[in-house]
Symmetry: C2
């Protein structure tokens, strides 16, 4: 993965854009800026913005032109982590091996930093200037639906409500589709809106996103059971302690591993369906293929 | 105020639109829907959406066409109240004479309801279909700037930081400009973006918004000192107990009352500058004039 050319090109640009948005806030907001940077600088694999850039490239757009919208996805993801970690939610004191904002600063700063990331994501979309206004409006609409009470927030509510219940596999899938899947899907959708994809390209990217989202969550659940805290930077065994419903708890570890493999294979098939012509498109598709390495266990 | 024709026409439509957006959320989200309705139904004077509708009418647009964007302002305002009331922020147990969400439901539901209102506001803007896409993009941009870390969130951070400090009047004004003023200003701006105002109309509306925002906050501070909890539905004397900086504490009660009168007079002058031709425009301007009744003490 480290040698992937597409990733090498864009990872640094994503971080620079995120930092520039925070640096661009009013100068009297040092505490807010510092809290926002604490959580966003050097953190995470940037998978959502990378998926926007790769799908945009596959759809014939220039990744550079869609960088702000790509970063909007990372901002939404970041806000969700900050609010999930709050004492009134999961009450996590560590994230990616670092103390969470409410521990390092205070709870009000954590709430407001989350709100700030959520709000600035929509400002970032509007900075995607090379994209036509009507497509920008569709991006805003898609992002608000996927991350709001029709998507991620709905999933979060269901997740909390299910903590002391036993779920069926179908119910678990619904939670994950809303909590994680829709944001992955909207990343690919935003990439499509930046370009001019054929129907078959669009369908293949949609397919990829659906299976990627599922694989992502199965792998996350498996990691939580199998890995130690040094590797993930989170306290592990936590989901089990909370009696959360996870793929391993519903399917067994072997069953969850098999389901993960199947989803990854479905992702590979979707990539094979993409009609790729230019070197740039091939490079972006290679990123999609290589990013499946993240989903191994 | 109760007899204002423009308000009579639109108050009910605003509530209906807000309720329809909540009802339109997925049916398995009863708890979230119920928490969101608890805080938004029958609550508040809807001053921000009414200002959008009135300024749109003054600018030659049809208020009906801009109703979703107007309601977006109420959604942003509502989210800010929910998050401000959280235990990690002001820890208020009552709002508008009713228990706050974290008291009636739980803290996670309060955090997520606030997030949901903030997110759905941008979806609402995109539903403002009679407005050109390029103007919708400007609305999204203006709203995210005014409510995010360049506006309301910045003001909230400053407000918290100033709790144990003595501020100058200039510093207090800056906090209020960010915390309250910018959202009032963006309401008028969004109204302008829905229509086709002349420069003089635009300037007069901007002027109105600036003075209205200031008057709004001075009056709020005065109420907090002078009124009892029955009237405001909030616990009073709280700001003083927290040693917050308020207009009355910096200017004295008489000084604050005088400042309030001056701001209200400046609002009246701005309304007189508006070039009004149609009956509908006169009616909308009458609403702006009548709404100054809210700012008396």
């Amino acid at each position: 993965m480290k040698n992937n050319q597409f990733m090498k090109k864009w990872l640094e640009e994503i971080e620079q854009y995120l930092v520039s948005m925070i640096d661009g806030l009013p100068s009297h907001q040092e505490k807010l800026q510092s809290a926002m940077k604490h959580v966003v600088v050097g953190g995470g694999k940037r998978i959502r913005p990378m998926l926007v850039l790769a799908s945009a490239q596959v759809c014939g757009a220039k990744p550079k032109d869609v960088l702000p919208a790509a970063c909007a996805l990372e901002m939404i993801h970041t806000y969700s982590l900050i609010h999930d970690d709050l004492p009134g939610m999961d009450d996590d004191s560590m994230r990616r091996g670092k103390p969470t904002i409410h521990v390092l600063y205070d709870e009000a700063t954590a709430i407001l930093s989350g709100d700030a990331f959520l709000t600035i994501a929509f400002e970032a979309i509007c900075q995607t200037k090379e994209v036509e206004a009507k497509n920008l409006v569709q991006m805003v609409q898609a992002l608000s639906k996927a991350s709001g009470a029709r998507g991620m927030i709905a999933g979060q509510m269901l997740d909390i409500a299910s903590e002391e219940q036993s779920l069926t596999l179908e119910e678990l899938k619904q939670i994950h589709q809303e909590k994680t899947g829709k944001l992955i899907q909207v990343a690919m959708q935003i990439g499509c809106l930046a370009g001019n994809p054929s129907n078959s390209t669009k369908e293949a990217l949609e397919d990829f996103a659906t299976h990627y989202g599922l694989a992502f969550q199965i792998q996350n659940d498996l990691q939580d059971v199998l890995w130690d805290s040094q590797k993930t930077g989170k306290e592990t065994g936590k989901d089990q302690a909370l009696e959360k419903n996870t793929y391993p708890s519903l399917m067994g570890i072997a069953g969850a591993k098999l389901a993960l493999e199947e989803e990854v294979m479905a992702c590979q098939k979707s990539i094979e369906q993409l009609p790729l012509t230019s070197d740039e498109q091939l490079e972006a598709a290679q990123f999609l293929a290589d990013s499946l390495q993240y989903l191994t266990i």
